[in-house]
């Protein structure tokens, strides 16, 4: 084997300017790694320092000395509730929309409008959605979604409303991922199904959706990640209390109609920006939140690798 210089040219011979640029490239890459490592390691250190099992399993307590009392069981439940609730709305709606766009799509102007609409939604910041929800759901007719005060004023804020608004946030992700999966299925799969005499609906139900299942799962996981990490909507629409205050007797529905918080608002509330001054609990909750998001990221990764669909997901 003959000795050779680096196949693409050792950079020692390059002009100084080019070597400086190469150094900048390395610096950029390493900086990114350093930032990510810094964030994860710092949060982990603080989380391990402050996270105790008692925190996870106890309720928040209204106490002047926040740093010593109460935990965040309610925010954890709150996060779980809104993630499941919102994706429960977004997934069927999003898959239906995506299927309609790819498999039907007539009249064409309507399909274009819906596609543009979904893109508009994707670009809408969550604070705008939150503000919209704030006044919209305070209208008289929608009192069933939340509490109605004694004077007839609709409170307009509840976990259920959070679910509805957050589903709008996750919707474009589900639609996009599902469409990608459906568009990637080759024509001959559909044609084979039609040739066997199946109707279009049956083809979609029995052939296309199962094939696109990894994409749907990816879209849902991405959506769930976005929902779990959202603060603005729950801050404005969750009602402000740290504990889950159910409204009405029915177990799950009552909780949804009531107010509460999630991990994100709990972190916000306990940080110097919120009322609390318990940074330890904020760190602990934030660490938990980060773990949830990382797990969801990892799930997306596994699905993507499992179905051999590598690539960058917006």
């Amino acid at each position: 084997m003959s000795a050779r210089t680096d196949p693409a040219g050792s950079s020692k011979s390059w002009p100084l300017a080019d070597r400086a640029m190469l150094a900048l490239c390395w610096a950029a890459g390493l900086l990114l790694v350093a930032i990510a490592a810094g964030i994860v390691l710092y949060m982990a250190a603080k989380g391990v320092q402050y996270l105790r099992p008692s925190l996870i399993f106890s309720h928040p307590v209204a106490d002047l000395d926040q740093s010593k009392s109460g935990g965040f069981l309610d925010p954890i439940l709150g996060t779980a509730l809104i993630v499941l609730g919102a994706i429960g709305i977004a997934a069927p709606l999003g898959v239906a929309t995506a299927v309609w766009l790819t498999e039907y799509g007539r009249p064409a102007w309507l399909a274009r409008a819906v596609e543009s609409g979904v893109e508009v939604l994707a670009g809408t910041p969550s604070i705008v959605l939150a503000l919209f929800g704030l006044t919209f759901f305070a209208q008289q007719g929608l009192g069933f979604l939340s509490t109605t005060g004694a004077s007839g004023a609709v409170f307009g804020r509840s976990l259920f409303i959070c679910c509805v608004v957050l589903s709008l946030e996750a919707l474009p992700l589900v639609v996009g991922a599902t469409r990608e999966g459906l568009l990637a299925t080759p024509r001959h799969v559909r044609e084979a199904s039609y040739a066997l005499g199946k109707t279009r609906a049956a083809t979609i139900h029995r052939v296309l959706l199962p094939v696109a299942r990894p994409n749907i799962a990816t879209g849902c996981a991405l959506g769930m990640g976005r929902i779990a990490g959202d603060t603005a909507v729950v801050l404005l629409l969750g009602g402000g209390a740290l504990t889950l205050e159910a409204n009405g007797g029915i177990p799950l529905l009552g909780t949804l109609k009531g107010t509460g918080s999630t991990l994100t608002t709990y972190v916000y509330a306990n940080s110097p920006s919120g009322e609390g001054n318990a940074p330890e609990k904020a760190y602990a909750a934030a660490f938990l939140l980060l773990l949830v998001v990382l797990v969801l990221n990892w799930v997306v990764d596994r699905i993507a690798r499992g179905s051999e669909q590598l690539g960058w997901i917006r």
Binding site: V33, V120, G123, V128, Y194, R200, L235, L290, N297, I313
Partner: protein
Amino acid sequence: MASAATDFSRAVPRLWSDRLVGPALGAAGVLVLLVIAGMAVYVFKTAWPSFHANGLAWFGSGEDANAALQKIFDSKGPHYVYTLRAWPLLYGTVLSSGAAVALGLVLSIFAAVFIVEFAPPSITRVLEPVVRLLAGVPSVIYGLLGILVMVPFVGDHLISTERKESVLYVVQLTGASLLVATLLLTIMIVPIMIAISVDALRSVPSSWTEGALALGANRWRVIWTISVRASRPAIVAGAVLALARALGEAIMLAMVSGGVIFAPNPLDGLTFIYEPLQPLAAAIVQGAEGFTVKPYGATLFAFAAVIMVSSVFLSFTGWAVRRRLRRFGVQA
């Protein structure tokens, strides 16, 4: 628009249930469209009183915006007060988002070039999950790190007491500043730009890069003069999308930019980056409690309307550009 629907309408047998499925699914799509359209209409309708009362001067500068907002909040019907000059808010938004996109553009181009060309495979395997991680971290965690780590650091160690005293008559320098806001915002938007840039760089035809290498250019020159040059439209599209994201960021900015509406003054020299600011989205978060007061609510919605228009417009542009690029074979 890409549609996989072939015209099998006559060839495929139709059951009565099949006839329902199409329109039913279409109804889902139409529902989504109606919700979005309805939301846009509602936002503008609610924001209208604020714009109407101020006219174009809404976008201008005038008396202290903090005081103006307080007056709006305190006003009682039927003599509602809507007077507001929102320039400091707009300026703060543009300043922080613009600076973040500029910084992020530089960082993301070099990082993308690194990932595509110069990184050893072991580092590339690490970098791709790293970028996805940075994209997935919730904004409240960035805000928490900002307010608990960066703001005290800046406030205690980077801003000297003399500096604080030099502007004390105007504003208090606490460390919650343009500097921290811009840095965190940059980290948040960089993943979007990197993802798009890497896709575009990888899709440059190898005949060009091979031809350039065969002409004796070194690897850096090849990727800079050929690949990055050919990817310029995609990089711009990525920057537009990143700008849209930055404009809409509320929670993190509310936590680190300082709670007071202030327009950082470049004429202050270096102190400029230590001054607090209040981007539009952060203003909504700060003021959300007061929405029950009608004019205050209208003002908040006016902020939301401005954010919505610009963010949606930019998002839409970025998406449309990427779609056109994909038709030309550039993977954007």
